[in-house]
């Protein structure tokens, strides 16, 4: 692999499938006699079902069954204590109470909790029948408001979440310039365009086919196998295409398991597609989080002390945790740093990691605070960051494997036209609009997990790659193709990738920006191994290449040839024939890098975001008018899909910064704007032309390709860049997201 050269942009390998409607998502597979399942959710947040009238529903046309806690078929593996969900949360009792089991008792632990699952022969009939199920409740007072329950925060178990201290926690207090600020983010919800659900049908007594919407088919396979106490090999999970996940597919949700159980009971395949409203209560969210940052700096702009405390919500029935305060520990050179992270159990559905998980939450606070401090110090925000730049990781006291953040600041600043920024807030006017510039940085852990890939080289020169990984949109298939092409020289169009099926070789789930590194390494390894075999075969005595060293040979375009003498070559087809092989078929497992704490280097991807905003001071409307994102994430494998991830981060970041907020009416304990007309994700008109820049230098240590992830860093920090730009435009500092017009008018 020539990791010193940049990769050319290639089209997404599954592009044709996607533009023709040929790509099939879970709900679109045909299973004969499929039935339709609709969930009836609780209308209260806490208490118990007093009565549940299912008679009318059961008698409605086409209905095959109405499943409640009273008649739910048993889920054998769930009768034992829950061991997470294959890829779910840690085992052990939750901080807030008891575990949750779907349709298990009459207890209600959160609004929208499934009380009944109605199955009928058509979607329309199932939906109608579900509307006939009526419940009465014994209500109990619920707690859904984080801000009113902050004192209930507990430190989650596990070393990652322990209070962190470097130096003196109080050092910031005596610094010449101090800052003490509180930031909040609301509940945000993933809302991928594809609705969640599952299609499952039993093909034998202990064999089941599951079309899922999951970021890891192997995880779902394990969850189902454990729940039904069957051999994982009898659970076939397929998710070739997934209409977006952003984290919500990182676990198996209880209703998926319920559908598998119900399918067995009704003896027909069951399809569940939850409604958009239910997407706000049944498949997780980014938790509301309250954060305080205390910062002290000297008059030269050097950080003296920094402390970051975050409290996020979880459910009473499960502990949810994320890396909200991680970035603060290592981003800047600061001798005195302390962090605290707590969770508060609320009567709500459990959160799940959402793009850039806790780091995006934390970066909003840290990078806003950096801007506030720069203002206090009368320093340019980039200059302030540079004065506190660190080439070594202060948390672990070791070098970064690779860090080009300075270059990223500079390139981004140039692209946005940072020199047009006016230091004095509110001083840049364009007719009725105020113009402002803002920037921020982001970072996310880079790692390499273990994965297995199979490569089959055929005599006709085509190559098949297989791995069970799901491609939820980042372009994993395209990256796999590029890596194989780089190793074996097989033309891109002659490479076929198969993924998203549990029958294929092992892969971790798609998430945490690790897949290109992890699966890519497996592909690299197996292709390297194929190449080695070819060269071994080609250099056997009697061939034109006999005696030539492996280093002086190239595999490309169906031939093994000698470098510098293209007349010396052997066709791969001939080599296979001679060896009596129809294919060269290899499967190899690539091992995970060791635990981060045991490494010689700290490995992170970095990003820098720059925006220009326009604010109308009389209406409070904010528009992002320019956006530049720079990624420092090692070698870029597939430039096109990488750029897409970054522009996607910008669109998501604009939503996070300006519009996204799921609002709970705490009197009822439920989200009231539970639909896409009232929960505003960015539309095309909100998103300006986005410039993406990649540093594109290989990381020498992470993996053979030198590539690091970029899915998370595309979003992490972006919201702060917008908030900082709004401040620059108006002089108003908004510390609670989203920055909606009312907030600017209120503080005006």
């Amino acid at each position: 692999m020539t990791k010193d050269t940049k990769n050319p942009p290639i089209d997404r390998v599954d592009g044709r499938m996607k533009v023709t409607g040929g790509a099939k998502y879970f709900a679109e597979f045909e299973m004969p006699n499929t039935t339709y399942c609709v969930i009836v959710g609780s209308e209260i947040a806490k208490g118990a079902i007093a009565s549940l009238d299912t008679k009318k529903a059961a008698g409605a046309p086409g209905v095959l069954g109405v499943f409640t806690h009273q008649n739910m078929p048993p889920i054998p593996g769930w009768d034992a204590p829950v061991q997470g969900n294959g890829n779910g949360p840690p085992p052990g009792p939750p901080s807030g109470g008891e575990k949750y089991r779907i349709l298990h008792t009459n207890k209600i632990l959160f609004y929208g909790q499934p009380m009944a699952m109605v199955v009928a022969d058509t979607f329309e009939r199932a939906t109608y029948a579900a509307s006939l199920v009526k419940a009465t409740y014994t209500k109990q007072p619920h707690q859904t408001d984080l801000t009113k329950n902050l004192e209930k925060g507990v430190t989650p178990k596990g070393p990652r979440f322990e209070d962190y201290l470097r130096g003196n926690a109080d050092a910031y207090k005596s610094a010449p310039v101090t800052l003490e600020v509180k930031y909040t983010i609301p509940i945000e919800v993933h809302q991928p365009m594809e609705l969640h659900g599952v299609l499952a049908g039993w093909t034998g007594d202990d064999k089941v086919m599951v079309y899922a919407k999951t970021q890891g088919v192997k995880g779902t396979q394990k969850s189902v196998a454990e729940a039904f106490k069957i051999d994982p090999n009898n659970v076939h999970v397929h998710t070739e295409f997934m209409g977006g996940g952003f984290g919500m597919g990182l676990r198996t949700w209880p209703q998926e398991i319920a559908v598998v159980a119900i399918a067995k009971k009704v003896g027909r395949p069951v399809k569940l597609v939850i409604t958009r409203n239910q997407m706000f209560s049944l498949v997780g969210h980014r938790p509301t989080t309250v954060q305080t940052i205390n910062m002290g700096a000297d008059t030269n702009g050097k950080l003296v002390g920094l402390s970051h405390a975050a409290t996020g919500e979880t459910a009473t029935y499960e502990d949810f945790t994320e890396g909200t305060v991680s970035m603060t520990k290592f981003m800047y050179a600061c001798p005195n740093v302390s962090t605290k992270y707590k969770i508060v159990p609320l009567d709500r559905g459990v959160p799940i990691w959402m793009r850039g998980p806790g780091e995006a939450t934390g970066a909003f606070a840290l990078e806003s605070a950096m801007d506030e401090m720069a203002t206090k110090l009368k320093l340019d925000p980039i200059e302030f960051r540079l004065r506190n730049y660190t080439e070594t990781d202060p948390e672990h006291n070791r070098p970064y494997s690779d860090k080009n953040l300075k270059e990223a600041y500079q390139k981004g600043a140039e692209a946005i036209g940072w020199s047009s920024r006016k230091a004095e807030p509110g001083s840049n006017r364009d007719s009725d609009w105020l113009v402002g510039y803002g920037m921020s940085s982001g970072t996310f852990n880079a790692s390499k997990g273990g994965a297995t890939a199979r490569a089959v080289l055929n005599a006709d020169g085509t190559l098949l790659l297989q791995c069970s990984v799901t491609d939820i949109g980042p372009g994993t298939g395209t990256a796999m193709t590029m890596i194989a092409h780089n190793v074996l020289g097989v033309p891109v169009e002659k490479i076929k990738v198969e993924y998203g099926d549990s029958a294929l070789p092992n892969s971790p789930q798609q998430g945490g920006s690790t897949i290109t590194s992890t699966v890519g390494s497996a592909v690299h390894q197996v292709c390297t191994s194929v190449k080695k075999s070819l060269i071994d075969m080609a250099t056997q005595s009697g061939t034109p290449l006999a005696g030539i060293k492996a280093d002086d040979l190239t595999v490309a375009d169906g031939f093994v040839s000698a470098d510098g003498d293209s007349s010396k070559k052997v066709a791969i087809a001939d080599l296979l024939k001679k060896a009596n092989l129809t294919t060269l078929d290899k499967t190899e497992e690539s091992k995970a890098n060791g635990k981060p704490d045991e490494q010689k280097y700290s490995m992170y991807s970095f990003s820098v975001h720059f925006v220009q905003v326009r604010v109308n001071p009389s209406t409070g409307v904010v528009r992002v008018s320019k956006a530049v994102s720079v990624a420092d994430s090692g070698r870029i494998i597939s430039p096109k899909t990488a750029a897409s991830q970054m522009i996607g981060g910008v669109a998501g970041g604009i939503g996070m910064a300006l519009t996204e907020e799921a609002v709970i009416d705490h009197r009822f304990g439920r989200i009231v704007n539970n639909n896409l007309a009232d929960y505003h994700v960015a539309v095309s008109a909100d998103v300006p032309h986005t410039e993406t820049i990649v540093i594109d230098k290989p990381d020498p240590y992470i993996n053979p390709m030198g590539a690091k992830g970029m899915g998370e860093i595309a979003l992490i920090g972006f919201a702060a860049a917008v908030a900082n730009a709004v401040f620059n435009a108006t002089g108003q500092r908004i510390r609670d997201l989203p920055i909606t017009p009312d907030k600017l008018l209120r503080t005006a």
Partner: protein, 327 residues
Amino acid sequence: MNQFQYMRVTNPKAAVAAVSKDNTTMFLAGGTNLIDLMKRGVEAPEKLVDITRIPLNTIEKTATGLRIGALAKNTAVAEHELVVKNFPLLSMALNAGASPQLRNMATIGGNMMQRTRCSYFYDTALPCNKREPGSGCGAIGGYNRMHAIFGTSTKCIAVHPSDMCIALVALDATVNVSGPKGDRRIPFADFHRLPGDTPQKDNMLQPGELIMSVDLPMNGFAGNSHYLKVRDRASYAFALVSVGVGLKMSGNTIQDVRLAMGGVAHKPWRLTEAEKFLKGKPATEATFKQAAELAMKGAKGHGENDFKLTMAPNSIVEALKTAAKTA
């Protein structure tokens, strides 16, 4: 969705006859509001009368102005040459609403008849006097960021969500309806109503009445019209506040003016006091501000929507400035 009977009619008489028979029968036009409400269980008609094949989609000149058929699609009206030329305010308001796809489906009559987007109205498990009289108003003391600041009652503080209607009320439109008791004309300003004690009633249409068309009188506002819509995202969102303005200028003097606001009341809100004040005044920011102040008399916030008390007058000034081209 419940099962219902579906029928298609091709003339108004049959439509009126079908719907007058009982109160569980409803007209179906573009369906963009009704089908949505049926999916959410807010509406559950037993019979749907598809009126889209009635030839009521023409846009034609009349002796006094323009007549727009009730079944003309929002897009067709917004882009019709006569509308663009003579009533740009209506074009702008229509184009500010919903999405291109929805505007291709939505009809003029349906747009007038669309129901509030109040979250409690849509959620059948929550109290709402409009959906279920007597159950209480969830928005009072709750999530009322989108709600009204004018003409509210203790029973309901919802807003009428239409953009188009703001233009129609400003442009002195008249609604032609046909019902079991014959035809009648309703001035647009009297078409929608305030919630009072009966928020379940959005407007003055009687059971069985079919909207046939809307008449617009000619005016001199075409040159100085503006529709300003302030919303949470740049497009495909309902108004927090919107302002429709038509000015007839003579030099820098305002000869005549039409002013209406959306997102602030249970009905399209015409600003007559402000209009009176502005007539004959110079088009300056100062007079605009005074007009806005007058317009805001009697406004009252309900907590989360207090910001509208600032946003609304500011938006009036902005819209007037743009229409007068002083900006």
